[in-house]
């Protein structure tokens, strides 16, 4: 792992900027969860390009479960940089016949669970964490969930379980963006004080600025050194952080529609696009000025070739091998 230097942080800022760019690129096509994706870019960069260890074979040793389906736009945006998906493919997200789901189904490239029915990912991630420990593996399991998912009782079942089993290989990151589908979480159904809740549920917890890469890295470090307890990183974010013109334009938007339509107005995509391109250029220049002998990301130094940028669609990759053809008239039900 790269030392906690200015270079490490600057590198992650660059990855985050690229994630933001890719998120905007995807959403410009036919709408998407732009505000969340942009705001989660720093967390995403730290997960994909710093915290998770390589398996030496083009993927990770550690496991990342993004419980909130639509927040997986950051997974897609990061995987573009890793060469797992092409931007071309991702630009079809939401189009009829596209193989790219806004909330991916288990088995889609880079995704381990079917997301989209919110609140169901945390239990699965906790189960993976327990399973890995039972196998004697040192894999760490990171689960990102949204503040809206805290409304779902099942996540509290999972938290209680993780604490009871002392899953110290388990980190949950809560995207505390005070945003639900229909308004501010604090209005819709308040979840604060989240840190107190997590602590009472047996987690070591820290509430951080989810857009401060140093704070995220520090929190991950604390997570790794936490014994006998699962860990909760409560990442306070605000939608569109990192692209100022969008943030100024949109105080609240769950989904930004095609052509920039959102709940109460229209967003012009271009200014934000230009802003993030500018940010990337600036960061690249700043990085070049630093000592560049250290490869920026140990895990993904070189892009992995895109073998099959079209991930299979549901129904194709599900149950190819059951032996039963459920469509036939002979075996069905």
């Amino acid at each position: 792992m790269i030392s906690n230097s200015g270079k490490r942080i600057k590198t992650l800022e660059l990855w985050a900027a690229k994630i933001r760019r890719n998120v905007v690129d995807i959403c410009m096509q036919r709408g998407g969860y732009a505000g969340q994706g942009v705001a989660l870019a720093d967390v995403g960069a730290c997960i994909f390009f710093d915290e998770m260890r390589s398996d030496g074979d083009g993927w990770y040793h550690d496991r990342f479960i993004n419980s909130n389906g639509h927040d997986t736009i950051i997974n897609f945006a990061a995987m573009v940089e890793m060469g797992i998906y092409s931007m071309e493919a991702l630009r079809t997200m939401g189009a009829d016949g596209s193989t790219i789901d806004q909330s991916p189904i288990e088995g889609a490239r880079g995704f381990e669970i079917t997301s989209g029915s919110l609140g169901t990912g945390v239990s699965q991630a906790a189960g993976i964490a327990l399973g890995e420990r039972m196998k004697g593996s040192d894999k760490r399991i990171i689960c990102l969930l949204s503040d809206g998912e805290l409304h779902e009782g099942s996540v509290w079942e999972a938290f209680m379980f993780a604490a009871h089993y002392r899953l110290s290989n388990f980190v949950v990151i809560i995207d505390n963006n005070d945003l639900g589908a229909t308004g501010k979480t604090s209005d819709v159904m308040a979840v604060e004080p989240v840190r107190k809740k997590m602590e009472a549920f047996g987690f070591k917890a820290r509430q951080i600025n989810g857009n401060s890469i140093p704070e995220i890295l520090e929190s991950f470090e604390e997570a790794r050194s936490t014994k006998d307890q699962p860990y909760a990183m409560i990442a306070d974010t605000k939608i569109f952080t990192g692209i100022k013109v969008y943030q100024d334009a949109i105080p609240f938007a769950h989904f930004v529609g095609a052509n920039g339509r959102w709940a109460t107005g229209f967003l012009k995509w271009e200014p934000g696009w230009n802003e993030i391109i500018g940010t990337i250029e600036r960061l690249e220049n700043e990085l070049a000025a630093l000592d560049s002998s250290v490869s920026p990301i140990s895990c993904f130094q070189e892009k992995i070739p895109i073998e099959d940028s079209e991930s299979k669609t549901f129904g194709d990759y599900i149950f190819e091998s059951t032996g039963f053809d459920n469509q036939s008239t002979i075996l069905s039900g």
């Binding site: 029915s117 409304h151 159904m189 129904g315």
Partner: protein
Amino acid sequence: MLLELQHRKMVPAAFDDISFDLCNRRKNVIMMSADLAHYCDLYKVTKDLPNQYVEVGMAEQNQVGVAAGLAKAGFIPVTSTFGSYASRRCFDQMLICMGTSKNTGICLAFTPGISSPAPIHHQGTEDLGMLRAIPHATVIDPMDVTDFDQALDIACDTPGLVYMRGHRGTTPKWLDPASFKFELGKTYPLRTGRYIGVISCGHASQWAVEASDILTDQGVDHSLLHVPTIKPVNEQEIIDYCFAHDEIVTIENHQISTGLGGLVCEITSKVGRAPRITRIGVPDSWAPGGSIGHIRKHFTLDPDGLAKRIAGVKA
């Protein structure tokens, strides 16, 4: 009963008006949501009638439980969320807290079946079967604004659990409010004919009408029966209808097992030697996401494809 083609229209965000009107007429009705109010077209009630609106956040189990509690305090609660969560996420609560109560408790399931653009997790294609297996429950799948509106009003006077599929967004108004009167359990012939009898409910009754327009042009002998109440249903009407035709086709926005098709098979099998029944819907597989047009096409539920399949049973 069906409006003439030129009078059929599309109504935007129909439920916004339906719910607002309902709450104004019945001051004991409480509209509820699990953080999807705007996505189920609930705006006016939330803004202008805050005393008749209870938001619970994204907690579907609690929504049903709180609703049952509101009913026990004398209100008529109407929960709302997407069909996938309305059915799968809180089924025990529906059965236990509402299904064993005499108090009216209404659960609305929006974007039902394959009518959600997001696949699997946002699509609920098992709900009609789940719900009709609950003793004494009432299960309604309206086809358009007209019967949705009327059925919701009647639901408010129906004891116990009422599960109803909703319509969101721009929704057809194809049934004539002047001649269509919703009654629980009643079945509605929309077109008459003798050879192929087409039975449908909910969105699929729209699809059936579209296909029927084509079949009528082609001179294919068929009739249409709209069955908005899945439970309790007038079995004798279903039996009489089925035995009056040579072939039966059921069409539903649902898996072809356990739902409307299953219901019709169960009812006719009680008599024996019934005509063949071809069940059309989601054929034991996951639906894709995308526009409803795309998804329907995927399953050959588009007007042309459906017309061909219906005509095809005559072979």
